[in-house]
């Protein structure tokens, strides 16, 4: 048994109206612990979840803090609606830290049981600061009121081994395993910046741990830098009202209504219960949205080989435990059992692979030119167990592969790896190199921004080209949507607080498939409303998928179907029923605005966060290469005629590409102006003191930061 380094006893707080009213501070450097009060002021300004995370992080760091500074914190919080069981998607943990990828606050979220069980153990938030000398495991027992530090050197690094061992170690018996949740990363987290966090939940039917990921921005890298091997929480006794809500009847009523919608409509709508998020692959392919070969094109004739049905029919097991928190009847967490690995240190063993989710199929599949479901699942498994952010890895490797395609780097410069599009063996080998910290694996995980610098400075690559095709903004890799024809989504990715991801703004279906925001004004409004609305999920501990991955049968009759008004009202009603407050849908947006603007000012405080960092790489906005233009020549030529009054017949291909680029970037500039104005920011992207006052965030500490930038 591992050596116990320190044990601390506490009295677990009983929750009241969604809050424990306490947070836990742990310094892993000196193993000190502080129990902090969660004040009404914090709730008023930040609500909880990501709001609490950012507030604690602000207080922990200085403008000089780097990701690996001891004072940098990893902060986790479940939010006031977290740990409900009656409504789908109430089990998210929100995590924030200063990111190694971006140098600014990242927030990422995961399902799994950790956040809810942490909250039920009496903690609205958990701060982790300092650095340990040796690997440490932190165990919180929410029933007994124990926080224990144990030496963690002896445990394996990779998640699929580590989490199983720790679940076994801390569960009192087989039945108790569902009450244990582990947060950890994997062996590749220490060799790059894109280490992610796995959040476990025990699947009693398959008798194995399952995992969801807080993947973005290098949170796993920070965990390992702090030498935290794992966090473990145990809480037995989850029931329907441990939040001690103000109005249980309303929550039951709304929850059951929603469950019934899932039962009646899911099979007719998105088939989330059957396929999960990967249901969209063929739709994305059809609408030219599926990123293929580093976002060069939006689909491929080979996509049918990685269609959802292929995974469902050949790999996934159905009708089992696929919700990542109790009561989530959307149950989108799919699973391939007894999957035989063919490469790496675990070749020949059979494992359980969580997924594949959409981002996995698109990222590790089409975007790398790999149309092989078996390979995608194996990549998925190794990303998870090695602790690699699948999205950053996929987008970064797509970039490297295009660099190879365009002769910008050679096989020799990549340590002999044959990273051509479609070479699954090379991709898997690279993951294994990242795990071992060898060869190109030592730098591959640094991400596109740093790879661009290395390729230009050391290999003599073309800087302009690399800036055009490297799909990163603010240092974070884009998630897997080819969105060249969606101006709204271009802004949705690059005008974000933390870098391009689909947590904050996902307008692509709205813009391109359903054509719900056709005008320029519609798009600017959407880039105000949706990022705010989606931020709110992170404040409360909610998953966004239940909002619009199923809609009421009569949703199309509403005034704004894209908002799914009935479900918005569900959230308002549930928030009030939990907290006893009486917000409306406008105050919901206002709650988000407070935190969103706080995060924007936080970026400024860290030396970033202005207009110059909100520009996308041109690959995001239009065709960089001649092949890309020619692949959709008819469309682009038509746009030259209709939007610019030009005659493509009289233009060379180079001229047409240049004219398209000039037009599109001008459109982007105009969109940025409109969005900044709508968000209450200066044209340099700085929140104005007037706006901060209007939303109740004219705090001296924020005004002091924005003042020099006005």
């Amino acid at each position: 048994m591992a050596e116990i380094l320190k044990e601390y006893n506490y009295t677990p707080a009983k929750l009241h109206r969604g809050y424990a009213n306490k947070s836990l501070y742990i310094n892993v450097g000196d193993l000190s612990i502080i129990e902090k009060e969660v004040t009404q002021w914090m709730k008023d300004k930040f609500v909880g979840g990501k709001g609490f995370d950012l507030w604690y992080l602000w207080n922990a760091v200085t403008p000089e803090t780097k990701w690996d500074s001891p004072e940098n914190e990893i902060v986790m919080s479940a939010g006031p609606l977290g740990a409900l069981t009656q409504y789908s998607g109430t089990g998210k943990t929100l995590v924030a830290s200063i990111s190694p990828m971006t140098g600014i606050p990242i927030d990422s979220n995961a399902g799994g049981y950790f956040g809810p069980l942490l909250k039920l153990s009496g903690w609205d938030a958990l701060e982790l600061q300092g650095k340990a000398d040796k690997d440490v495991v932190i165990f919180i027992d929410g029933n007994k009121g124990i926080i224990r530090f144990e030496e963690g050197e002896e445990y394996p690094e990779d998640t699929h081994l580590l989490a199983e061992i720790l679940t076994e170690r801390f569960a009192e018996n087989e039945d108790d395993k569902v009450n244990v949740a582990v947060v950890c990363t994997g062996s590749a987290a220490k060799t790059g910046y894109m280490g992610m966090l796995n959040f476990s939940f025990y699947d009693p039917r398959r008798k194995t741990c399952r995992y969801k990921q807080a993947a973005r921005g290098g949170l796993g890298t920070i965990l390992r830098d702090k030498k935290i091997k794992a966090l473990v929480v145990r809480f037995k006794g989850v029931t329907g009202n441990l939040n001690d809500v103000a109005d249980l009847a309303t929550i039951n009523r709304i929850g059951i209504k929603y469950h019934k919608q899932m039962h009646d409509l899911d099979e007719k709508q998105n088939r989330m219960r059957t396929i999960g998020t990967a249901n969209t692959v063929m739709v994305m392919n059809k609408y030219d949205l599926l990123p293929t070969r580093n976002f060069q094109t939006g689909g491929d004739p080979e996509t049918y080989r990685i269609a959802p049905e292929v995974f469902v029919n050949q790999f996934l097991t159905q009708g089992l435990h696929d919700g990542c928190w109790y009561g989530c009847t959307m149950s989108c967490a799919k699973c391939a059992d007894n999957f035989l690995l063919t490469s790496g240190p675990y070749a020949g063993t059979r494992v359980t692979v969580d997924g594949p989710e959409y981002e996995c199929v698109a990222g590790l599949g089409s975007n790398l030119g790999i149309f092989d479901p078996q390979a995608i699942l194996e990549e998925n498994f190794y990303c998870d167990t090695y602790g690699i952010d699948l999205i950053s890895f996929a987008t970064a490797m797509a970039f490297v592969m295009e660099c190879v395609q365009r002769g910008q780097v050679t096989r020799e410069q990549l340590g002999g790896l044959d990273l051509r599009f479609g070479n699954k063996d090379a991709v898997l080998e690279l993951m294994h190199l990242m795990s071992r910290g060898e060869g190109f694996g030592k730098i591959a995980g640094l991400g596109i921004r740093r790879l661009k610098k290395i390729f230009v400075e050391e290999f003599g690559a073309d800087e302009q080209l690399l800036n055009d095709i490297g799909m990163e903004n603010k240092g974070l890799e884009y998630s897997e949507y080819c969105h060249k024809e969606s101006l709204a989504q271009q802004g949705g990715f690059a005008m974000t607080n933390k870098g391009p991801q689909h947590d904050e703004a996902w307008l692509i279906f709205m813009d391109m498939v359903n054509n719900q925001i056709p005008t320029f004004e519609d798009k600017a409004y959407a880039l105000f409303y949706y990022p705010m609305f989606r931020t709110w999920f992170g404040l409360c501990g909610l998953c966004k998928l239940p909002w619009n991955d199923i809609v009421p049968a009569d949703n199309y009759k509403t005034d704004v179907p894209a908002k799914v008004p009935e479900h918005v009202q569900n959230y308002v009603d549930i928030f009030n029923a939990v907290t006893g407050m009486s917000i409306d849908k406008d105050e919901l947006i206002r709650q988000s605005e407070r935190v969103y603007n706080f995060q924007r000012v936080f970026n400024l405080r860290m030396g970033h966060g202005k207009r110059d960092e909100d520009y996308p790489p041109y690959r995001s906005c239009g065709p960089v290469s001649e092949e890309e233009y020619l692949s959709r020549q008819e469309l682009y030529d038509k746009q030259l005629v209709e939007k610019q009054g030009l005659d493509p017949e009289k233009m060379t291909l180079t001229e047409k590409i240049a004219a398209t680029r000039a037009y599109r970037m001008d459109q982007y500039e105009q969109l940025m102006d409109a969005v900044y104005k709508r968000r209450g920011w200066t044209m340099n992207g700085v929140p104005t003191p007037e706006h901060l006052k209007e939303i109740g965030m004219d705090l001296p500490m924020l005004l002091e930061v924005v003042e020099p930038h006005l």
Binding site: T85, Q86, N241, A249, I256, H259, G327, C328, S331
Partner: protein, 129 residues
């Protein structure tokens, strides 16, 4: 598989069955606590009660619903987290709940209502399914 069967042609809607059920399990005569509900449809009485089809077993996110050795579908109250998912997912609308109860409840074919029925309109049957 044991299940409760209702003879619609005999039932006169006296609701003694509801009373027996709610009294046995919740010590009340409030029919909202009964796992059998008699509905009057133009003086034809329809009984809503579990058919023991078991569709709720796999959908339960807490793994709390199981079929016992008699084939009766039961809720393990120690495992149930009160999510009410089964209530929303029951095709027959016969998984019941009340806000003052932490878990849903359902007919477990115990036969208490059979004994209480003055018209002998209820019986426990065993199917091979």
């Amino acid at each position: 598989m044991k299940f409760l069967a209702h003879k619609q042609e005999i039932c006169d809607g006296c609701r003694k069955c509801e009373e027996a059920c709610s009294q046995l399990y919740f010590k009340t005569t409030d029919r909202n606590y009964s796992a059998i509900r008699i509905n009057n449809n133009f003086n034809t009485y329809h009984a809503k009660k579990c058919t023991q089809c078991g569709e709720c077993i796999n959908m339960c996110t807490a793994n709390a619903i199981y079929r016992d050795r008699n084939g009766v579908v039961r809720i393990d109250k120690k495992l149930c987290v009160g999510c009410m998912g089964c209530v929303g997912f029951c095709t027959e609308l016969v998984m019941f709940y009340n806000d003052d109860q932490p878990t849903p409840f359902k007919c477990v074919a115990c036969g208490a209502c059979v004994k209480a029925c003055p018209k002998h309109a209820l019986e426990i049957l065993v199917s091979q399914a």
